[in-house]
């Protein structure tokens, strides 16, 4: 549990963009693993199975959000409330404007990822953040190898295009 909780949390959070909900979903992943452990095929990789559950839950959450505009609005509103966002780059040796730029850049990167289409974003996060192989990603997302590579290529191009004006 300890081994996977941070990684899963980052994966789900980057996918759905809501930290509180991401924690709930990660807990739900562990509950499902606990309930269905007897059904796990031990010839397969355990982490792939866990990530598959997490990916499906994140997808369901996004699907539910798109059907419920109120939930979407509340999520967007919450994400823009500054007091809820922890300051990740707390560095007293840096100048204040550097800290502001760093924090601002982090937000830009997160927002740029959130702008990617859902099926591209999923593959992008699994590859770039979680370091999963193409085969593992294909198994987690239930698509073939060619599709994984194609989506990854498009995700990288799209992300680079979105973020280019801010880093040039």
């Amino acid at each position: 549990m300890t081994r996977y909780q941070t990684r899963l949390l980052n994966f789900v959070y980057r996918t759905i963009g809501d930290r509180e909900k991401a924690e709930d979903l990660v807990q739900e992943v562990f509950i499902r693993v606990y309930r269905h452990l007897h059904r796990f095929d031990r010839s397969k990789k355990f982490s792939t199975w866990v990530y598959t559950i997490a990916s499906n839950l994140a997808k369901n959450e996004l699907r539910n959000r798109s059907r419920n505009p109120l939930v979407l609005f509340q999520t967007v509103q919450k994400n823009f409330q500054d007091e809820d966002r922890p300051l990740q780059f707390e560095d007293t040796t840096s100048r204040p404007d550097d800290m502001y730029r760093k924090r601002h850049l982090r937000e830009i990167v997160e927002e740029s990822v959130a702008k990617l289409p859902e099926h591209h974003r999923n593959v992008f996060i699994l590859r770039e953040l979680e370091g999963k192989s193409y085969e593992e990603i294909a198994e987690i997302t239930d698509c073939n190898l060619g599709t994984v590579k194609s989506r990854l290529n498009r995700a990288r191009n799209s992300f680079a295009e979105i973020i280019a004006p801010y880093v040039d």
Binding site: E23, Q27, V109, E128, N153, A164
Partner: protein, 177 residues
């Protein structure tokens, strides 16, 4: 190599999964094509930013909340299992009752009809003789021979060996010849 082929293989190039020859061709194309070199640099810079995003940590009470949920999950599982077992027991009891009632009903329903009694055959046997205390000189021979011989050869030595007789009430009887 042309730019289209370069773009098609760019994912594998960035992930360093290309075979040696292909890798060399891609690197050569980068040196020759400014546009593809800019594209490659743009992608790598963007990926560097993303990969260096700080990791978020679970909140302080995350483990506590998870443990509470897992405990509830266990209770729910026990409850469901108990309910299922009770239901199965109730179904089994109902079926048994129905069968029993059916049997009783069929017995009562058919009780007026005349039936041929089938008795078990009687086998006459010779009555057992009355057992009386042994007084005659014909004893039930319960004898043993210290040599461990069977009765038949022992009888041959009856004249020679001392023999003690006991009658059916297992009392020592005197035998005089």
């Amino acid at each position: 190599m042309d730019c289209r082929e370069f773009c098609d293989q760019h994912v594998a190039f960035v992930d360093d999964t290309l075979a040696g020859i292909e890798l060399v061709r891609m690197q050569r194309h980068l040196m020759e094509c400014e546009s593809c070199a800019k594209h490659d640099a743009k992608i790598r810079r963007a990926l560097l930013l993303f990969r260096n995003l700080p990791s978020i940590e679970p909140s302080a009470d995350f483990s506590q909340r998870l443990e509470a949920r897992l405990r509830n999950c266990e209770y729910d599982h026990l409850f469901v299992t108990t309910q299922r077992n009770l239901r199965r027991g109730a179904i089994a009891a109902t079926i048994a009752s129905v069968l029993m009632l059916g049997y009783i009903g069929s017995t009562l329903f058919h009780s007026d009809a005349p039936r041929d009694l089938v008795m078990a055959p009687v086998v006459a046997t010779i009555p057992e003789p009355d057992l009386t205390p042994f007084t005659t000189s014909t004893p039930a021979i319960v004898t043993s021979v210290s040599a461990g011989l069977t009765i038949w050869p022992a009888a041959l030595f009856a004249e020679q060996v001392p023999v003690r007789f006991a009658h059916s009430s297992l009392e020592l009887a005197n035998y005089t010849r």
